[in-house]
Amino acid sequence: MATAIVEEISEFLQKGRAKNVKKLVEEALAQGVDAKEILNEGLLAGMMIVGGKFKRNEVFVPEVLVAARAMTAGITILEPKLIEVGNEPIGKAVIGTVKGDLHDIGKNLVVMMMKGAGFEICDLGTDVDADTFIAKAEEIGADVIGMSALLTTTMPNMKDVIDTLEERGLRDKYIVMIGGAPVNDSFAEQIGADYYTADATSAAEVAKAAVDKKKAC
């Protein structure tokens, strides 16, 4: 069972009370609660609940944003301690909007939810070419490559990244996920991506499950 203070952190996070979260994280650390427990059972667990509610249309975007902001506030306090105890993220991901496409809101929300699921994220921004995706993934030892495209004119660039991975014999190293308004399951299948997800919460859930599965193998 999680410590009472940790549960309280989760509850304040769900309500988006950044100040309370910050204060309680400091208090919990002072009480000697394990930083990993604060992160996993408090911050991330709370975020997971909000994400689930969002997916079920019980809460809307603003509530999720406010909760995520509170999560950031907590993690900022926690970070030095987490480094000290050598906390490992559940996985690493590089995420960006593909070459030629400058839309970023959807991608930003995916980054937010994946951080909330415990991922270490390298946000490559927008207009990202295949080389950049792959070089960064290799550099940080990513598990997941996440791509976003909002235009039919830029969707094919997702395939470029996958083809380049194939050419370099790196395809099997990564879980490739795609998303964006014009994208769907059949497109994912067509270009050889591993997963398509329709919303940010699903993206985080699928990524987590896929990484767990991969690591179990």
């Binding site: 069972m1 249309n57 019980e58 975007v61 603003p62 030629g100 400058l102 970023d104 004119t153």
Partner: protein, 756 residues
Amino acid sequence: MKNFYEVDGLIPKIELKSSLKAMDCYEDSPVYEEVVEEFEEIYEEMLSLAEPIGILGFGKISAESATKEYPEGTPVIYGVTSIGDGIKQCSTKAFQEGDYVKGMLCDAMADDALFSLEGRMMEVLKEVCSEHKVGILKRLEAPHDIPMASQRDAWECLELQTRFGIDISSGYMFDPVKTSCQVFILTEDAGTFKAQHDCRKCPNVNCKLRNIPKTEVTVQKGEEKHKIYLQEGESLLACLIREGYYVSAPCGGKGRCGKCRIRVVKGYVWITQEDEKAFTREELEAGWRLACMAYPVEDLEIAFDLMDESQFEILSGCVEEPKEKDYGSQGETSYNIAVDIGTTTIAMELLGKESGKNIHTVTSINSQRMYGADVISRIQASVDGKKEELQESIRKDLLDGIRRLTKEAGTDLRQIERIAVSGNTTMGHLLMGYDCRSLGVFPFTPVNIDFIKGTFEEILGSKECEAQIVLLPGISAYVGGDISSGLYACGFHETKEVCLLVDLGTNGEMAVGNKERILVTSTAAGPAFEGGNISWGTGSVAGAICSVEITAGEAKVKTIQEKSPVGICGTGVVETVMELVKDELVDETGLLDEDYFEEGFPLGRTDKGEIIRFTQKDVREGFPLGRTDKGEIIRFTQKDVREIQLAKAAIRAGAETLLLRYGVSKEQIGKVYLAGGFGYKLDKEKAIAIGMLPEEFCDRIEAVGNSSLAGAVRFLKNEDGEEILEKIAKESEEINLSADKDFNEVYMDSMMFEAE
């Protein structure tokens, strides 16, 4: 005459209301104040960062941008407005820093500032048109109306790079991104000026700023035709419901369930992604669309098949003694009525006041179903301003039912003395017209779940009967009067042995206990057991596949009343999953073995014995179970398996956690009562086989049918009913599973299937 016109006098504006609306933030949001505060804090800065630019210029449509309607060389005016990169940079930076509220808000404010330039742009465009003696025939925007390449054409034509330093990406997006581009098709008729953005023509149905003028829809229903009018921003489904049509929409109009099928006979409705999932190419061409996703852009004529839900099998069976039907009702001078308001169905029993005998029973569909299949969508609908409509709907259903009940039994409404109503908390709130807002959000506080007593007029708004009505008390927002009533019916208040009551519905309410102590909870099982969220799911209607046997990849199905298959009902769903697991077509983790299908096996068989052979194409999307009259193939997909995994894991984990908290082992449980229509028809061995219930329960399961109605009957028959129900409702403790670590652990484990 000039070729270029820089738009002068541009004054960007940012409005609170539209900025917040664009991010789905309304006054009823729990975080509204916080977002407003943030808005006020950054407002001045954002406004100062806006660098408005506007330009218009004459050009021609290029080969790459040409469409059938507007071929290469068509003369146009390109218009471009921008507010620069400053605000967007703030947004990106805020996102990177983890300040997601500010990030999203900046983006919305940037859009608002950009759109605010439209007015001045139109004024200048008008001046330009009059100077050149041309009119505007149409406004096009990429990528919906014209290819993205038109943005490059505009960029080249208006020399945006050299003039303003606006860059363009390889996908033809402008940088700064908060730049918008229009292509105005010219006409020699200078009197025409159709330059404004027309939301009706824009397929971006999720746009928060969408603004739709009224559209006329002619509805064909058999021989008759009716005209209805769509309101601003209203979907076709919402309009049909408002006009009193019955349209099945279990998902509440979110484009997920694929049930609100209509056919467009005249006019055109955009094909959405949801339509593409719900229909085949041929169907789409024939005009089939989902009403919930349809935002008509022009006047239409539509037709739809009304599903005959009057055939719904509804359970009114009780735990108690077999019913002695006595239509004669001799000797009785006054009567009582027991009512169960279920989320899907309503059941009522007429009882002799003296004898307590069941005289007659009627059942009907809860008409509120058209507002969504589950309580969450009803709460949502109520909060969205449909509170009065929902109350009206249930009042009408109850009045209709009571009138029918008395008429068919040959009695009179004036002879009814008492009516006891049992139902979940949401149903009670909707009947009473209470505000449902607090039911949908943490900490889920009901307005009133005590005994509610009133006159017939007070509760049903009609003077035709003088009976007293009483609503049975509930335990919490999620464990309502239907459960207290069920506990009473099953005798939890008098047994020493610890028993378990499980309602296998959407909310998965359950209770464990005895006369000493009762512990209750609810677990989000979802509507899968009622056929909801299942591709071919349906209620227990005639033709629903209710029993399935799969041997060596071949399915044999039985349908309700042996009618041609129309879909799969709850029991059929459970059996399909079990059989798929048994036949190793679904593995432990729930993965559907798709390779198997490629061999082109004979995979379906009706109960009449004819084998249906499927081609490889037919079976690509799921496991086929039968074929409808229209020749459509009923499939069971991977997603459907997943839905069942979630549902059964929720029930299993809920039950196990409840026992754990109560401090009792599975072996110590005396009886396991399964409540509800689904629980009644479900084969208990199959429920155990898919892991919904633990094996230990096998010899203790008892299907009690509509225990909510039975409790209401018992209440009317016994004088101490009020006292006992009061005690059950007040003393039952509720536990919350959403943050329960044990629950989550068992939940994950229960997701799996056990291999044979």
